[in-house]
């Protein structure tokens, strides 16, 4: 159960971090976000990852939890990347920038 909650927090955390990045916003969010929202998302992202660490360490013990957290981070980041690439793959071709001449 702790694993599931921590993984969910890591996915949400990395999703926030990804959404906070200007270059990924068109693909991941669908539009550009203003600077204030991006900053807020970035802070929220880091806070969620820290919350996952807290959950892991209370639920699984300090040592075991810390090891599990590293693994949960990897999985969370990987799933967000997968989602981002699905979003890019689904986009119509016209979004791609025209080649420079």
């Amino acid at each position: 159960m702790t694993h599931i909650i921590a993984i969910a927090l890591c996915i949400t955390g990395f999703a926030c971090l990804c959404a906070a990045m200007v270059r990924h916003q068109p693909d991941f969010v669908g539009r550009k976000l203003d600077a204030g929202t991006s900053r807020m998302l970035r802070h929220a992202g880091f806070a969620l990852l820290m919350a996952a660490l807290a959950i892991d360490m209370t639920g699984l013990g300090a040592g075991y939890g810390a090891v599990a957290w590293c693994a949960h981070l990897t999985l969370g980041a990987g799933l967000v990347l997968f989602r981002l690439n699905r979003a890019i793959a689904r986009q119509p071709a016209k979004v791609k920038p025209a080649p420079k001449r």
Partner: protein, 526 residues
């Protein structure tokens, strides 16, 4: 200056990564598989099904050893666990005056036995199982263990250098964190290499460093050499529990082991007993040493308790470990992951797969980067040909070999002489055949064909299993034999993965000229 530093780090990263990259790839593959070595062993011994009671099985093993090896110097028993249903035992024959004590070689041969819960030798096919993959990870094969461990150690040190120089070389770890672009040739390979490297970076740093720690006294013996007359003196001081008792030559029966195991389990907050060592069995001075299982805590070196074998009194308890010993124990524990439960074990496995892809993509990147700059792409120079063919043999060949190892386990005749050895030989025969194929065929075709071969072999494992043994996924779903269900799924996923890679490699062959033509047309119209 900054760019100069980064460039020199890039050079270091390229060459430390390449030089032993194929060995690192093999270490990553077998090490990752070794996280499931007990499960692989169980799959490779389908005859063994019982999951007996630990204490009863241990007692039964003692009865067996009492009957067959009453004169042994000591008995060593590993009780069954949640992951391994059998009892492994080995013994030290009694020393005979004037005779050199026989050195124990890599294989224990006639001084070991695998028993079931009733203390009967297990009648299963002869195989090394997952243990072979685990040992290959650091002992390799067909070569002296001593040299293998040095070679593996050098590779691990190169890996550590490659990780640090890679971090310096990677210009935008955070800005490019989620950057993975497909269909862009070299850029895509670089993205894939970066993403797999960054996502599990804590794991790679941990696994490489702690891997070196496991054999640290071998790689850096000078600290011991400077302070002790003999290395053995150091180990005796560090592991005091190993001191031997004097034989009294007065016979006395052993106490039952179950109550002692109960005492130890309570002392260790419910952690299971990982090993039982009985010194001087049958003698009045016999001792029973219980050691905590490595699954009970992160530290791999479990606490131990020594009991008198004739009275059952507690004689000695392992002292609290000092800081350095505890650190080493935790590092080795982190590396081997024996403490990990199911969830974490799978995550360890996935991180290992990530590492395998990282090393593999790095190796491929070396060729992709240089292919464009070749003076004559049709006739590349020797170094380029060597690297590209070795890549095929390593990346597609070793997995194909492991699939062959599993198939050989099911297909070799059960009564065959040296059966376990031939399973291992078949792994290397398949691996070597891929190398020859990679050299003989045009490069692109060799990629597609050997990846397809690996996919086919993994895909064949569930089928051959279903045809040769009664345990398979369909029966497993009905009877709750989850090991066989999970193994089949894992094999099919590997087959799909390699099949997809083969598909991609085949498409890359045809896509290239088309893109070149498109660019040419574009230039013409511009």
């Amino acid at each position: 200056m900054k760019d100069g530093f980064r460039q020199s780090m890039a050079w270091l990263h390229t060459w430390t990564g390449l030089l032993l990259g194929w060995l690192l790839f093999a270490m990553f593959v077998t090490g990752t598989a070794a996280y499931f070595q007990e499960e692989i062993s169980r799959w490779m011994k389908p005859e063994v099904t019982a999951a007996p009671d630990r204490e009863a099985a241990t007692q039964a093993a003692i009865t067996y050893l009492h009957r067959t090896q009453p004169d042994a110097e000591s008995w060593f028993i590993s009780p069954p666990s949640a992951r391994s249903p059998t009892v492994s035992t080995f013994w030290q024959p009694r020393k005979v005056e004037g005779e050199e004590p026989r050195k124990r070689r890599g294989r224990r041969g006639d001084t070991s036995a695998t028993l079931d819960g009733q203390g009967q030798p297990v009648t299963a096919r002869e195989t090394q199982g997952g243990f072979f993959l685990y040992r290959f990870h650091f002992d390799l094969h067909y070569m002296p263990v001593y040299w293998a461990r040095y070679l593996v150690g050098v590779a691990a040190m190169f890996m550590l250098i490659a990780i640090f120089s890679g971090i310096v070389t990677h210009k935008k770890i955070f800005a490019d964190f989620f950057m993975l672009r497909f269909g862009k040739g070299q850029r895509s390979w670089l993205d894939a290499h970066n993403v797999t490297a960054v996502f599990a970076l804590p794991f790679y740093l941990m696994i490489t460093y702690t891997g070196l720690v496991t054999l640290a006294t071998m790689y850096m013996p000078w600290g011991i050499a400077a302070n002790y007359s003999k290395p053995d003196a150091f180990f005796e001081e560090v592991f005091p529990g190993r001191k031997e008792m004097e034989r009294s030559d007065i016979g006395a029966p052993l106490v039952p082991v179950r109550p002692l195991m109960e005492v130890a389990r309570q002392r260790w907050n419910g952690a299971e007993i990982g090993s039982v060592r009985i010194a001087l069995p049958g003698d009045q001075n016999s001792t029973i040493t219980l050691t905590r299982a490595s699954s009970g805590a992160i530290g791999s070196r479990g606490e131990s308790m020594v009991f008198s074998g004739t009275t059952g009194d507690l004689l000695e308890e392992s002292p609290t470990q000092g800081g350095a010993m505890a650190t080493q124990s935790v590092m080795i524990g982190l590396h081997a992951g024996r403490f990990a439960g199911w969830g974490l074990r799978w995550l360890y496995f996935l991180s290992g797969v990530g590492g395998t892809i990282m090393v593999g993509s790095g190796l491929v990147l070396w060729t992709v980067k240089r292919r464009a700059k070749l003076p004559d792409p049709a006739r590349p120079h020797f170094g380029f040909r060597l690297v590209s063919r070795m890549n095929i043999a390593a990346i597609a060949g070793l997995p194909a070999g492991i699939a062959t190892y599993f198939l050989a386990n099911r297909l070799l005749p059960l009564g065959m002489a040296e059966r376990a050895d031939w399973e291992i030989h078949s792994l290397f025969i398949a691996w070597g055949a891929t190398l020859i194929w990679a050299i003989a065929r045009p490069e692109k075709r060799a990629w597609v064909e050997s990846l397809t071969l690996a996919a086919g072999l993994f895909g064949a494992v569930p089928v051959v299993n279903a045809l040769t043994v009664p345990r398979n996924s369909i029966n497993g779903l009905r009877s709750g034999d989850w090991l066989f269900v999970a193994f089949d799924i894992a094999m099919l996923m590997l087959a799909v993965g390699f099949g997809y890679a083969a598909h991609k490699a085949a498409r890359a062959t045809t896509a290239k000229p088309r893109r070149a033509r498109a660019i040419k047309e574009e230039l013409a119209t511009a």
